[in-house]
């Protein structure tokens, strides 16, 4: 049972990683002058959209947390709308935190916001897919003994890796190397992306290695 779960997790993550790699390879075929550094905003949009769709599709296919009872269509619609609102709020929140961390307030608002959207797709969207718009469940998942399935564990790992990556991405900004990727927010969004990818790769491995220790409370 567990091994098959881990395999499903691994395959889902590999699809996600591939989708991110494709966002850097495919667009140049269609768009002129496209490069991740040069037209960073476009890449941010493409990457966010791509990760969003892939995640939603994966969620629909895999159904990591299947619920037993049938849900009415109206309920599904309200849930979807709620998810959208949550996503938007999380973008605003991330934007606020990034600005509080020292990002420029007025100049490059768009850049900052798109970066916030990217971070949200890496973190909040995942949570929404896995747990639904349920803050209590989120609070529960992100605590030491809160994980109830390997999907929760992978959620913890990818989310933390993305945020740590974004945080580390801020470090090269003050250096006087005059590299194109030092411009705000390129290094941070790249850091977040690398962190996310690393998280996607690490999560199944970590779970595999610790599969003996991992025991989950049944709901």
């Amino acid at each position: 049972m567990k091994d098959t779960e881990i395999k499903r997790l691994l395959s889902a993550h590999i699809v996600s990683v591939l989708s991110i790699i494709l966002t850097t390879i495919v667009p140049p075929l269609f768009l002129e002058n496209f490069s991740v550094l040069g037209t960073h905003l476009i890449w941010l949009c493409i990457c966010s959209i791509c990760v969003t769709t892939v995640n939603i599709i994966l969620y629909i296919i895999l159904k990591p947390n299947p619920s037993s009872k049938r849900i009415s269509f109206a309920h599904k619609v309200t849930k979807f709308l709620k998810c959208c609102v949550f996503f938007f709020i999380s973008c605003i929140l991330f934007h606020g935190i990034i600005v509080l961390y020292g990002a420029p307030l007025i100049e490059s608002v768009l850049e900052t916001f798109l970066f916030a959207v990217l971070l949200s797709t890496f973190t909040t969207l995942h949570c929404l897919c896995m747990l639904g718009p349920n803050i209590q469940a989120w609070i529960r998942v992100f605590s030491k003994n809160g994980a109830m399935s390997i999907w929760d564990n992978s959620l913890q790992i990818t989310t933390m890796c993305s945020i740590v990556g974004a945080w580390l991405g801020a470090f090269p900004i003050p250096l006087d190397w005059d590299r194109p990727w030092q411009i705000w927010p390129i290094s941070c969004s790249l850091g977040a992306t690398f962190g996310y990818v690393a998280g996607l790769i690490i999560a199944p491995l970590w779970i595999y290695w610790n599969r003996k220790q991992l025991t989950y409370k049944s709901r």
């Binding site: 600005v99 609070i139 529960r140 992100f142 003050p174 250096l175 709901r219």
Partner: protein, 1087 residues
Amino acid sequence: MQRWPVLLFLAWACFLFFSGIGLFTSGFLLMRIELTNRSSCSDPLATPAWAGQGVAPGACWMPQRVPKAVLLIIDALTFEFARFDPAKAQPRPYENKLGFLHQLAGSQPRHARLYRFRADPPTTTMQRIKGITTGSLPTFIDVGSNFASYAIQEDNLLGQLVQNGRRVVFMGDDTWDGLFPQKFFRSYFFPSFNVKDLHTVDDGILQHLYPTVDGGEWDLLIAHFLGVDHCGHKHGPDHPEMAKKLTQMNEMLRSLVDHLGNDTLLLVAGDHGMTETGDHGGDSEKEVNAALFVYSKTPLFGAHLPEEPETIPQVNLVPTLALLLGVPIPYGNIGEVMAELFSGDGAATSAALSQLSAYHINARQVDRFLHSYSLAAQDLPAERLRHLRELFSAAMEEHDRLLAQVREGLSASPELEARLGRLVGRFQRYLREARAVCMESWARFHPLRMVAGCALIAASCLLCCVASELAAALDFSYRSCLLYPLLWGLAVAAVLGLGHLLTREGLDLILVLSWLAAASQLAFFWHSWGRRSRRAHLAGGQPPVASAGLWQRLRAWQGLVLPMGILFIRCCAMFSDSFVVAEARVAPFLLASLAILLVGKLHWHGRLTAPEVPKQPPGSAFYQKESWQLLCLLAVLLACLRLSGLFHQCREEIPHCQPSSFLAPLASLQSTQAKNLFYLLCVASLAGLVYAVRRWLRHYGNLNSTSPLVLFVRWAFPLAAVWIACYWAVTSGAEDTLGKLQELVQVALVGFPRAVYGLASLGLLLALWTPVTVFVKDSRESVGPIVTPYQGAPSSQADLQHVIPQIYRRMQESLKSQLDRGHQRATVAAYGLGSVYSATLVIVLTLLGFLLLMLHSERMSLAFLLLFLEAFVLLRIHACVVSLAGDAEPFVVPWYAVTAWVFAATQFFYSTGHQPIFPAIHWNAAFVGFQEGHSTHLLPAVLVGANTFASHILFAVGCPLLLLWPFVCEAPNSQRRRLKKELREELQEEEEPVMEMRLRESPERFSAALLQLGLKYLFVLGVQLLACVWAAMILRRHLMVWKVFAPKFLFEALGFMVSSICLLLGIFLVMRVDCAVSAWFEQLQTR
């Protein structure tokens, strides 16, 4: 409670750090006094005319030999670049590129010559320009210069030329603009800052060079090329780019020589060399080995051709050029004239005579300088000076004798020539020794001292760590940890001092003190190690718990990962010039990360969520009320951090930086409306500060008593605020007032600040004299007898300790009932006992805040308001975290709190408009309340220092609050505690929130906690200082060492000193309150 030992131990730890700083500084920051004297033509230094030498009209000291000169400085022109070796088959990219110089020297040996040009360390461009123009050995700090600008204050070649009506034209590196403002007849400056840019400066010069040379409107033309240096920094010397750059220079020289007239002297010089990586700044052979090339279309040199190029010290250029151009040698010059250039093409004897007269003038000038310098400063060894003086007078006597004989008509003979040669040799020897003496004390790093200073600081950090561990274990014997080490140290110092006295060497105070520090440190480590092993021996009947113990220890260390990791990142940031430059943003970033990670960690461990209640749906968790409070506090902290960035100051390394408009005084605002608005805002922030402090004190009941301190808080705080507001009104509107009012304004400008100074000092004295702000209401009938079990005064300390908790428990009880029911029923026995320590600290901090705020410009009061708010929020977060974490030991201030506190101090150093560079110091702080200036240097230094280190002072004095605040915040949490208590039913005794009195219950642990807090604070400060010192030592060759690292080190060291002293004061204040509270209790007993 042990008070003095704690203070003494902390003072000793501070001393250890200070001695480390002193030792390092003496090896790294060489100092020199700048004299303001200037040479002039009328100085009686000129040689009496020799026979057969008519004094040319208008000649000054010596007749002019060269009417015009071109000085080309090619930055970082190493001798290797200028040398040409035709035998080389495969030259490296930088070799054999300046072929034109070789061609000139080969074809016209009497016109051109190449020298090795020895630069003096520090080999940075600015210091070298200073050296090439003043003839002196500039150190990093030339005391006496105006710190606010880099302009050269000393007498220099350009100053002399301008003074004597010559036209100096400059083109190139804009460093010269800062060094010689308004000195040039014409100038073309190009930005030098961007090291990556190889061509802007050079192309700019090439555009103007030939037209200017042809125009002829100049006497000295200076062109400073930067491309070679920048190429070195960017690519290193061994790079094809360097070959291109040198070839370009070669072509430039070739065409320049075509444009030169016959009477023009051409000098091509490198200001310093470069290492194999293309850097410079230090004193290695490659860095000091520059090139000098001299050329003129009229013959300059004698027929004698040296085999190897001669080595010329860089300062020699100054007297040579001065005398050749016929101006006085700059006053502070210690260089020696280049004799060959004075030989001319006359006969041997006349050549020797003119050389001699140049040497004579040179020697007299150097002697005059050494005399004045030794009167102004004592750093040149007296013994050596006396020896020099002897050399000089002997040479002068010989000179006078020879002069008399020549006057009498001694004909030119081989004997005369020999005597002339010997005399020149004597002058030469004198000049060289004089230079060596100066060099020894000004221009050498002492690597050994630097390393030793570093080691001392590192060992002190370790000591702080070890001692704080010992204090935590309550296993601290002052006898073995303080007394014995001190005795050992004193013994070693005494032996050394005696040794010095016996060998009659000069006593080097810094060295002796560092030996004292090192010896006492060693003794400390020895004793603590000994104790430890003994303890292990006593405990170790069975083998010590190996695996479990290790695991436990690792668990204990886990808590350290977060604060120490962040601290480590901050220390690493000290090693990068970019990060030091950007530190104003790095510090808040790290502080925010620390806070967020802390809260995140609490969340991760499930401390923020309420214990699960069965009725909740499974798999969900809710936050407690306190957790939401913590999150709100975190948000406020982040907002504070972000807002504090509004008050930043700029430094030149950051391009497109606009300094915060809040830094400018209100008086500089044009619009009256904006002025009024800002004025109101400032006054509001001041009023807000006063209101908040009074509100806090009232809330904890510390504003009710009639003790002088409380009365002072009630009346003098608003008064001080009003006075400051009046002062601001006067300063910001000073220009608008007219006629008669002007006098009044002058009085007010002096009066208001001084009144605030007076008021604040009065308040501080009161806080020391009667720090207890507890109000006792004698209404015992209603409460019942306070002291029941014991009759009379307690006889022993043990009795007293038993009684005290009962007293304040009663008081707290009634205080609580008072709070619950409102103010109608006066059944309260004592107010404010639970916050008596922090109340005094808060009062003192507010007073200091007033003082420091007044030293800043008006609108910085907003930054100070922010500072107090942020400190408060940090304390609240700390208290919240302590209460949420639950298991924490209440007497131990965790590392994260101390680290955050230190980071906040650093952050507000920047957010009060400072930067660790000299031009950013707010000098006008010295004139607040002293409009007419000062007679002494002490007072302005204190004022400017207080302005600069305002945040260091406030946070260091407030440091004990970190220990006190969790106790103060205990009261509101009592509800939760009771809830917990219901769960733990075994606890029978009802526990009241006794707040800070809990500290008094265990005086031993209180003093240990204070000691530990102080040591932790010193440790965090010390580690940062260590990183800074290390960076300065390792990167002393770095391009930015004198612009970034050395000033940063200086500010960090001064900040450390100020912080540590203020920390001692803060802890002293807490102990004073403790004393007073003890006295107060005793008084209560006897009543």
